[in-house]
């Protein structure tokens, strides 16, 4: 095989609870530090210990980050999933496995290379104690993979030192021993590096490796959020955990050592929503972070906040539904729910980030929009964006930023007024003035979720009720031009539109590039906010065929476009991938080919995704493994 540097994918199959996460992170980070674009997808079970878990790393010099469905190197450390893992190897790829025990004959494939390393034996000889042997096996494995891929060994050692440092010297020594053990074993026995390899680049000079939940948490801190209420739920918990950790670093009052933030772990999602509404009403920038199951519980309060016009921000880190669904898998199944959450006529501002950089940016924008429009705002991220590490341009802050608090009357303004009416539209944009409790006696009003007139008084009068509800509709419609504009990329020869949302971006844009190599071109539009702006409708109306790619069964984005963008539904066709794994370009391409009747394309250079394996059965009598360079 010809050398293929910085363009391959590998997959590591282990058992969860064995420390594999830190070993995987080490590998990922060392590739990042070599300046090579890389993406990692953690495919993990909803479990603490003992179930299969995978980590997929894609290395791509061109910066493609979407998941691949075929792998050039599979590290099979979990016998339970050998068959599946071996089946996902591309022809000509490598299988690294623990040769302490023989591999069952039926698992063999003649079109791939088997690389056996007796990890368990090596660890038993070198380390004492069952737990340590299990943990170190993954580090030994990382050493082998580093040698096979030509990863700079010094970088790995530096990373280990940064992780353990002086405080955990004994752990550092053990890790050094393990990593050397693996590296030396591979270097001595195999022809390292393999044709698939890492070669140092300079692509990451201005980048960071960060997950979306951490980026969103930083966005909340920078936006000036002071109240966070939450209830633990995968995959959103790490957002609040990051927020908490950074508040203890960035939000401590120097004089008193106390916190300039209140973070409350509530008894359930109903209560966390209630706290956010209460805090928003009192004048704080407040948010909660949850997943779809939590939004279901919060809808009562979302309706109240909509009707009582209370600013508040909801992060929905989507996971697979309905019901408990698959808590550790990703989906975009909450698009419709968030757009209309709660009973009665409600409609909400939604933002759809595509990666951690937008999680940071949209977090800040969400608070501005919530206060400007005095309404709940949703940021719909997902498990893939929120919990996986992404290479993004380093986050920057503009010190000139000032929060948009919207129409809030202060004591001086109230003092000069004859009377204040909370729900009166005085300037035609549908947005009334609000007051905060405790500021001035003239600002007092009664907030309620029951029918009220524009003066804030209880009403059961049809006209008074409708007047308020109609004004709120005007207000929310007005947000269409304030939400992030769609990302549009046009090609002069495009015959079709490809429309998508959020984390589908990587897979869809890679598909467009690969179709371009076949001479088929698409215009691209990624929706970033709801209500939809004019631009969205214009894009769709200008094309006969718009393929809407999204990750849910029922084509929720397509439905929302049909309902809300005022476009001809006949121009919209659907591509949906919703099994819970991040979108792959090949998955998009398969569906688009089928839809448009395009011929199957040539296998693209680099990624061997379209190859089919396992190949024919291994003839009997074949050697146990085909080792490279042994």
């Amino acid at each position: 095989m010809a050398t293929r540097a910085n363009d391959f994918a590998l997959k590591i199959g282990t058992v969860n609870g064995t420390g594999s996460a830190s070993a995987n992170g080490l590998l990922m980070q060392s590739i990042f530090r070599m300046g090579v674009p890389v993406s990692g997808k953690n495919v993990f079970p909803s479990n603490i210990q003992g179930l299969p878990t995978w980590y997929e790393i894609r290395v791509n010099a061109a910066g493609h980050v979407a998941r691949t469905r075929r792998f050039d190197l599979v590290v099979a450390m979990n016998p339970e999933t050998y068959a599946r893992d071996i089946g996902e190897l591309a022809t000509g790829g490598w299988l690294l496995y623990d040769s302490s025990w023989p591999l069952a004959r039926e698992l063999k494939r003649s079109d791939v290379n088997f690389v056996g390393v007796p990890f368990a034996e090596m660890c038993v000889k070198r380390f004492k104690g069952g737990r340590k042997r299990i943990l170190m096996k993954n580090i030994v494995c990382t050493g082998v993979v580093a040698a096979l891929l030509g990863i700079d060994f010094e970088i790995i050692r530096t990373l280990l030192e940064e992780t353990f440092g002086e405080k955990k010297r004994h752990l550092l020594e053990a890790n050094f021993t393990a990593i050397d053990l693996g590296f030396d074993y591979a270097a001595q026995r195999f022809d390292c590096p393999l044709p698939i390899r890492i070669e140092a680049m300079e692509a990451n000079r201005d980048s960071v490796l960060i997950d979306g939940n951490t980026a969103a948490a930083l966005g909340c801190i920078y936006a000036g959020a002071t109240v966070a209420a939450w209830y633990p739920i995968t995959p959103s918990t790490s957002l609040i955990e990051a927020f908490t950790a950074y508040c203890h670093r960035l939000r401590v009052d120097e004089a008193s050592g106390k916190l300039k933030v209140a973070i409350i772990q509530a008894e359930d999602e109903l209560a966390s929503a209630g706290m956010v509404v209460g805090a928003g009403w009192a004048g704080a920038r407040a948010f909660t972070s949850t997943s779809g199951a939590g939004i279901s519980l919060m809808t009562e309060f979302i309706g109240l906040a909509y009707y009582a016009e209370v600013p508040c921000v909801f992060f929905d880190i989507e996971r697979v539904g309905p019901s408990t669904g698959m808590p550790t898998r990703t989906q975009q199944g909450d698009i419709l729910m968030c757009a209309y959450a709660s009973h009665g006529d409600t409609k909400h501002i939604c933002l759809y980030p595509k990666d951690p950089a937008e999680c940071f940016d949209f977090a800040v924008r969400a608070f501005d929009l919530a206060e400007r429009f005095q309404t709940p705002v949703f940021v719909l991220s997902d498990l893939d964006i929120g919990m996986n590490d992404w290479v993004i341009p380093r986050l920057r802050w503009e010190d000139g930023y000032r929060p948009d608090r919207g129409k809030v009357l202060d004591a001086a303004a109230l003092e000069g007024m004859d009377a204040f009416y909370r729900f009166m539209d005085v300037d035609g944009d549908g947005i009334p003035y609000r007051t905060l409790p405790g500021v001035h006696p003239k600002g007092a009003y009664f907030t309620r979720g029951s029918g009220h007139d524009k003066y804030g008084k209880y009403t059961e009068d049809e006209e008074e009720y409708q007047e308020v509800l109609d004004r709120i509709a005007v207000k929310i419609d007005g947000a269409a031009d304030a939400v992030p504009a769609p990302e549009i990329r046009l090609h002069p020869d495009a015959g079709y539109g490809l429309v998508t949302i959020g984390g589908c971006d990587g897979g869809v844009r890679e598909a467009i590039e690969r179709f371009a190599e076949e001479g088929v071109h698409f215009d691209y539009m990624r929706i970033r906010g709801f209500p939809f702006s004019e631009e969205v409708a214009k894009f769709i109306e200008a094309r006969e065929v718009n393929i809407v790619v999204e990750q849910n069964r029922d084509a929720q984005l397509l439905s929302l476009l049909a309902l809300e963008a005022g476009v001809d539904k006949g121009r919209l066709v659907s591509v949906r991938r919703y099994g819970g794994l991040p979108l792959s370009a090949s998955g998009v391409m398969d569906s688009v080919r089928e839809l448009l009747g395009l011929p199957a394309g040539a296998a693209p250079a680099g990624i061997a995704e379209d190859s089919k394996g396992p190949a024919e059965e291994t003839p009997s009598g074949a050697p146990d493994s085909v080792e490279v360079g042994a």
Binding site: V208, A229, L250, K260, A271, A279, A282, A286, G438
Partner: protein
Amino acid sequence: MTHIAKPRVFHPGLEKNEIGLTQRDYEGVVSTLCAGCGHDSVTGALVEAAWELALPTHRVAKMSGIGCSSKTTAYFMSQSHGFNSVHGRMPSVASGANAANRDLVYIGVSGDGDSLSIGLGQLCHAMRRNLNLLYLIENNGVYGLTKGQFSASADVGAKSKRGVPNEQPPIDPVLLALSLGATFAARGFSGDRKQLVPIIKAGIRHPGLALVDVISPCVTFNDHVGSTKSYAYTRERFRTAVEAAFLEPKDFVPSADEITAELEPGGVRDVRMHDGSFVRFRQTGDDYDPTDRDGVYSYVRERVEAGEVPTGLLFIDPESRDLHEVLGTVERPLVDIPFTELCPGAEALDSVMESYR
């Protein structure tokens, strides 16, 4: 329902408090509850207590859920912000508001349906959280707005207006509060304003959640013979466990017999509040220590078992640590911190980014 503002015509001779306000300044719109409803008496007690404490009206936030009780926040202190939220969820809204602005006086009004059924979870956790909130339950044993169904505080054997007995055991908010570690638990009766006003005043000043269960009869659906939440039944079974008076620091004169007569009827014990005010407990006839959680629990349970309605400022924890103390938040209300002190700035972000390299 209507919204009727009371005429703003004041009698010139009305007494003013130390900030120059009359009781009329603490009133709200005209109540639309049934004539004779206990809740209106509780509203009256609240007005009196707030006036006596000379609360600046705009520094008070009135919180409620849904139900007859929750409507009453409109009937007092029109110059205060009010939040009539959703059924059973007042505690969480109050928690969020309090987290944002710890300097306001929070008065939460709820009912037995709102607090003991749909909102039981929120009530329990609000007590655990111990936010600084006066939490009044206007307890009448029935759902009024939906016309007379039993609530979770209805006693076994109590009869509905149609004569159907209740079979399920009641939830006693005071016992619940004591068992959950609440730092202030009291029971009053809407028919006894003299007892209720000092309890409300102490509850407002208490640094933490002050749970006040007020038996407040429903004249329309639960004031008949066979009811255990009627005026007649409550008056007959009413028992004052301990008398409590609220004393401002300026009015406080140490009691001479404080130490010696603690257990004697008529003996006095002063408990100092966080802000320097005092609650003066006067023994009635029972051997009673309002700071002994287990003792109070046993007493209340025994008296309830005996068919009585034990009342008074039943329990107080002078060491109460409120939500903010536990969270470790700054003294200044979070809403008052300028943005420039909240945003760490570009340089700090650069330094954070270094750890993701």
